[in-house]
């Protein structure tokens, strides 16, 4: 419950932090922290235009996408406070629920019959397929490290002992930051700033969404960022009491937002054709973590 409230709170200003960082980095003052949320609120009040090609799938997909992320957030714990849903193997359901939302968002893009949106759908399907193994191997290594298979017990028993285990924590954070960037179609993989359809992934999939649905999709992106931020924060919180962990949570989230902003400001987008290689690197980093864990546990023969 704690984590749900915290994530919902973070989702209100997270994008604001990113945009503010980017503005400052490019020498502008930038909009207020809550401006992105105000934009979404305005969209929620608007009417919509639907393409004549679309079917019911196009109308329900944003809701399912939003629900899938919300459902996934239910599973994220905060320190030693479990999420609403917690059972052994919950991270498998976490990944698969998110995949359900993704499935629907991809087919809703294909529903419009637009050439641009098909392009985005194709890329989204490929990239999310490539990023999946990294997530599972990382969680597998953490399960191996701690001997547990649910988010809450992994994070509460995760404690660093030797130098190597600190390195593992750092690598895991790195992997999660990049997973978050890829899943949200941000900078090194996709550039949401350029409004050129040919180079976009997620943005191009929602070209035909408008009004309430568009607002929902944009808000879901914020939620997703906050969710990954919450998972990252769990690497640092451990079993600390709430009065320390909650400020720490926000510090991590804001730090994460600033990091995203800085990456976006100082990095160029990769060529589309190079993205698969880049994403596969994450899997190999996760493998490194796995072998590191084996080494720490002394199971390396």
């Amino acid at each position: 419950m704690v984590s749900l409230i915290l994530i919902l709170l973070t989702s209100l200003f997270f994008m604001g932090v990113v945009i503010r960082t980017k503005s400052i980095a490019s020498g502008r003052k930038g909009p207020g922290l809550f401006q992105p949320m105000k934009d979404i609120l305005r969209l929620w009040k608007k009417g919509s235009v639907y393409s004549r090609t679309t079917t019911f799938i196009f109308r329900i997909a944003p809701t399912i996408y939003f629900s899938s992320v919300l459902m996934a957030i239910f599973m994220v714990p905060h320190g030693n406070n479990p999420g609403l849903i917690s059972f052994s193997g919950d991270f498998v359901m976490f990944a698969y629920i998110l995949a359900t939302g993704k499935f629907l968002s991809i087919i809703s893009a294909l529903d419009t019959g637009s050439s641009f949106e098909g392009m985005g759908a194709s890329r989204e399907a490929l990239f999310s397929m490539l990023v999946e193994p990294a997530f599972f191997i990382l969680l597998g290594s953490l399960a191996l490290f701690t001997g547990h298979t649910s988010f809450i017990s992994i994070f509460t028993t995760l404690h660093y002992e030797s130098n190597i285990s600190y390195m593992l924590g750092a690598l895991a954070t790195f992997v999660f930051v990049l997973i978050a960037m890829i899943e949200n179609s941000r900078m090194p993989v996709d550039d949401p700033k350029t409004h050129l359809e040919l180079t976009m992934v997620h943005e191009v999939m929602i070209l035909d969404n408008s009004g309430f649905d568009l607002g929902t999709i944009l808000y879901t992106t914020n939620l997703k960022f906050a969710m990954y931020g919450a998972i990252i924060s769990n690497f640092f919180i451990g079993a600390l009491p709430l009065e320390i962990s909650i400020p720490l949570f926000f510090i991590v989230q804001i730090g994460f937002g600033i990091a995203v902003g800085i990456i976006e400001s100082f990095m160029a987008r990769f060529r589309m054709a190079h993205n698969p290689q880049f994403i596969l690197i994450l899997t190999s980093v996760s493998m490194l973590i796995f072998f590191g864990v084996l080494m720490v546990l002394g199971r390396f023969v």
Partner: protein, 677 residues
Amino acid sequence: MEKLFVEIFNLLAIAAIFSFPFLKTKGRGILTLGVISIQVVISSIVALTVFAKGEAQYFYPGSWITGEIPIRIDSLSAWFMLIISFTFLTGAWYGFQYLKKYKNQSANIALHAIAFILVYTALIDICIIQNGFAFLVIWEIMALSSFIVIIFEHYKTDTLKAGINFLIQSHVCILFLTLAFMWVKIKTGSFDFLAITAYTSSQPAVTGIGLFLMFFIGFAIKAGFVPFHTWLPLAHPAAPAHISGIMSGVIIKIGIYGMLRMLLLIKTDMTTIGYFIVTISVITGVYGVMLAIVQHNLKKLLAYHSIENIGIIGIGIGLGCLGVGYGIPVLIICGFGGALLHTLNHSLFKSLLFYSAGNVYQAIHTMDIESMGGLLKRMPRSGYLFLIGSLAICGLPPFNGFVSEFFIYTGLFSALLSNHFLFTLFILFAIFGLVLIGGLALMCFTKAFGIVFLGTPRKKFDEGMVEEKPMKIFPMYLVAMAIVLIGILPLIFMPSIQQIVQLYQPGSAAFTSGQLKSILDILSSVGWYSLGFIVLVATLYYIRHLITAKREVAADSTWGCGYTGDAAKMQYTASSFVRTYRKLAGPFLMIKKEKREACGLYPGHINQVTHPHDKVETWFIEKPLLSIRKLLSRFVFLQNGNIQAYILYGLIFIGLVILLPMIIDNISGFFYLLNRL
């Protein structure tokens, strides 16, 4: 009682077939439907009694060739009987409607119906007979009658070719099974399945592994493990839709049944077998889905997905074997349990997908994905049912595919925590494989559903709604309901699965009730959370509806960056959707591309066509066949069309047959003489 029921079951089939000459086409159809329905009821009663009361067995005296024929119905047989029966029930109902379009081909339909009844009867009998010889005879009946049901449209060359391919490969399968049964018969003098146990437990482990490999190859051809899968992608598109559904749903599963049966009987080093099965299954799963993505024929795509799902089932089976080998109870229940549940689940969603594909085929008379599009508006019921099937086959919650995959994942992650270095690495490999399969399946089915049912048509077909008769859709609803039901209540079949898993459990690896309960609790909570997800979506959609009900809604054309002409041709096609993937996976695939580019001042018609090929098929089937053919072409002079020459060959053959034993006798007499000297 079981004996009586099984006899009635078989007699019904025979009686139905003999009454065929006295009926007209419509009567034959109704008779087939009626007989299959009654048979389904009977076999389900038998299966359920077995689950309730435990194993049943009785004996037929048999003849001097076969020896005593034992009929043993244990929970494993009962499980497969239930799966087969349900799919045949929906398949018969759907097929009855499907074949109405062909009602002027009276003789063809009659043959089809006879073979259909035979396939079903033979499949059920295979599950219960435990005598090697009788097993092979029934297996042969099953293979031949499935050949006949596949080549329903035998006037098409492709269909006949695919059918003959199937026929040959299923006989290679029978060859291996025959060799394996003969091996045991020669060593023990009995065809009884129990002789296998007696024989392998008295021999060193290597013998058992050798015998298992022999059975494995035989059953793997039927089940479609890579590299023995090549008949599947050819036979499925050739068969009519209800047969494809049944074939993918249950006929290939009989191979899985055989494997599970042999794992029960053969006593050997289960660890080695486990490693072997998991390795080949991961390869099967990944290879199957990798090729599925690039297919342009909807049914072929689904056929490759059957291979993928066989891989997932195999991972479960292998995991269970590893559990038996290492004595880890959690692995046994998660591995075998997951495999059994996935067998059921796959039979459900795959038959649903094939039935929907059949409706598409009857609406537009093609299976080429590239020419489809926008079908959801014309045939909404089939479309949404296909969507349910797609979500389920990708293993996404809240449908049944997720439950069985989650079951296997639970096993894998608990195996990861073991102390063996190599074992841990190996499990990581399996997890990697399963995750990759999941991701690729998602890509494949977004393509299949998105391109076929969404967007606008890529070629001109008749406009207007396609008639979807309620009687044709009804069996599909039944399957869809089962899919959702298992997704939400995964535990409804758990007692049965538990009974089967107990068969595999050696005394040393019995699990405590606490362990079992924790796994069951997790599974049931997964089901409830899936239901929660459905409720969440429904609530949020209702809220959205309340908010947006009074808003202004306009309809317009799709945003085309200023272009307002006909955008149908500008849509992403099936091959462009997977283009990046195709480039990435290039080394594993074999894709021939034909391209005609625009050139000159007035460029003419441009097009690009891709033809995906199967590399394994080229290496294992086509190339060896080609070299055999080259060798044999040297002897083509023997086939000169001269009748006198043929009579001479016959005489030479008969002479040799008679003379050979005599010559051998003489030679051995000669050697005997030499020895005496």
